[in-house]
Symmetry: C2
Amino acid sequence: VEIAILVFDGLTALDAVGPAEVLWRIPGAELRFTGKERGPVQTETGPLRVFADHELDEVTAPDVLLVPGGFGTRRLLADEAVLDWVRSVHERTRWTTSVCTGSLVLAAAGILDGLRATGHWLQMERLGRLGATPTPERVVREGKVITAAGVSSGIDMALHLAAIEAGEDVAQAIQLAIEYDPQPPFDAGSPDRAPAHVVDQVRAAAAAREPPL
Amino acid sequence: VEIAILVFDGLTALDAVGPAEVLWRIPGAELRFTGKERGPVQTETGPLRVFADHELDEVTAPDVLLVPGGFGTRRLLADEAVLDWVRSVHERTRWTTSVCTGSLVLAAAGILDGLRATGHWLQMERLGRLGATPTPERVVREGKVITAAGVSSGIDMALHLAAIEAGEDVAQAIQLAIEYDPQPPFDAGSPDRAPAHVVDQVRAAAAAREPPL
């Protein structure tokens, strides 16, 4: 199973690393961290840099495409080289997937036209403007397209994908290996249940960081 | 808040990136990815490489130390340069923390002597042999030492830490920003609840990968 993970400046590290931590454990999986150029990529996560090991044109027919999110996706929405690659790769994938605002990139590439899709809760309107049918669920599967909600949801999505690709025993073994038995200290992970003043604060902080398009 | 995250060949990427994704969002936080040498670090997560931005002797008094796990920790248990740094830094930290088998490194440095501590469920015996009192909980706090269980537990631990350092509103805002509303497709994240044959399989696979010491 060849799995291409798109990496780009301003990606949210956990969007890529959560799924990667699950997916590399699928027997036979080969992950390809793929960027516009080979070399270091500046994530938006603190000063963390990760490596792109492959350039776009070296990865032409992965079985799985994963597009993570982050504020850096906004630049990709007008980057025809990236959008062309996403479209071209999507023609042959078994699964085309995104985490968080990665779904905006799939949408800008035209892949989500008329499809139900999810993404970060703050970006559901934009997702709709880009042609998808915003669907506020944790993981949304439409044919071979699987989108996941904000950041940490990529772990859940990847476990679904592991089960589809390799069976439930393998997916459960991976869940156990990474001891994914979540016990968040608060019940604030969804805008439906977080305190209203916390929702307002996150909304304002995100708006202040939103780059101009 | 200066937060040193130790990076080393063979670390489990999610052990470091899960907490990093939470901690960089604390107002005023500065993350220092710190390794024996500056430069690329090969994680055990697929071919993913991350960067060490700082060498050990450049980071002498962080407020928080975080030691992630991974099979690469086994080499650190006999690496006096790393253990000396951990001991020295620990003298001045507000919080000394670990994720997964990172607790083995804290134990080898003598920091967990007689303290309750957790780590990956497969390594609790070894943790005991290194002087800690193995405690199979998700997050264990003993004074200023906080240990977390396997891999994904670092996210929960970091939210606890964010609440202690910056208050519950900030921690909840971070949880909401990363949409940490986990919905694993299976209930297999703990050896108590995963099917027995899955537990056996993970145990055997881990034993086969265990490097000689």
